[in-house]
Symmetry: C2
DNA sequence: AGTCAAAATAAGAATGATTGTTATTATTTT
DNA sequence: AAAATAATAACAATCATTCTTATTTTGACT
């Protein structure tokens, strides 16, 4: 894997991100510093970074792929109201729960939880009072 | 929801299916009896049936949507070798495990387990002997 | 049975996310 | 510095899915 300025900018943009950006969001961000970068380059590098365990893919059904710079074990919840993706930090990895579910073994999983984010939950409570 | 011959054929095709067919697989199947049916009609009706709780959507990251006629609670595993989708029947609903993960509550989730299906596991063991 | 409004359809265009192609450029190795 | 390799920009292509529109079907009500 050779160095490239573009890949470095992409990696940094994911690193800086507070939300869980899509390829297009990263594209828009990196374009500020590298106006001629191609969207295909962003996709190629995000995939490469994910395949090399440097960033994490977050697959949300019915949405474009999201990406996450936090590699420490955690899960994701999508807000049913505003659509934002929030980190969920279980006390114990869910993986253990899943292992017993198949005789042939579980080697991995994709999980997206659904619920209200803090902001939406609070906003709803305010209106209701 | 008015009756339509097309919707009925689509529902029956999902009902008969042993795997977890995609919209296109259902389209190919229904076309045998209704050659002029449109793919858009298949999509529209699969969505309608799913929205009305008559069939279930099975979202597999990186693949077209699958559908399932079995409405009783169960999970899904995708075989990392052959790509087939198999039903997993947990003793207790995983939902309970997930509820405690968010202060704001969990209203649902999407889960796909990864592992080897029985057939692939057996095949691998044979070769290895 | 005949009329009407609502719902559904076929056909195909359009969309959106993602990947492929190719000629060129940048990076690493010799 | 030259050769070999990987990466890029530009843009075409693909794939799944949804949208549009003119037409047909269905179900309710005479």
């Amino acid at each position: 894997m050779k160095y490239s300025r573009q890949r470095e900018l992409i990696r940094e943009a994911v690193e800086r991100s507070t939300h869980h950006p899509t390829a297009d969001a990263i594209y828009q961000e990196v374009r500020k510093k590298e106006p001629n970068i191609s969207l295909a380059t962003v996709y190629r590098n995000l995939n490469q970074l994910a395949d090399n365990g440097i960033i994490r893919r977050v697959a949300v059904p019915g949405e474009p792929e999201h990406f996450d710079h936090t590699m420490a074990y955690h899960e994701h919840m999508i807000c049913t109201q505003c659509g934002c993706v929030v980190d969920i930090w279980p006390e114990k990895p869910l993986y253990e729960q899943f292992e017993a579910l198949s005789e042939t073994g579980i080697t991995g999983y994709d999980l997206i939880l659904h619920g209200l984010c803090r902001a939406c939950a609070d906003r709803n409570n305010l209106k209701q009072d």
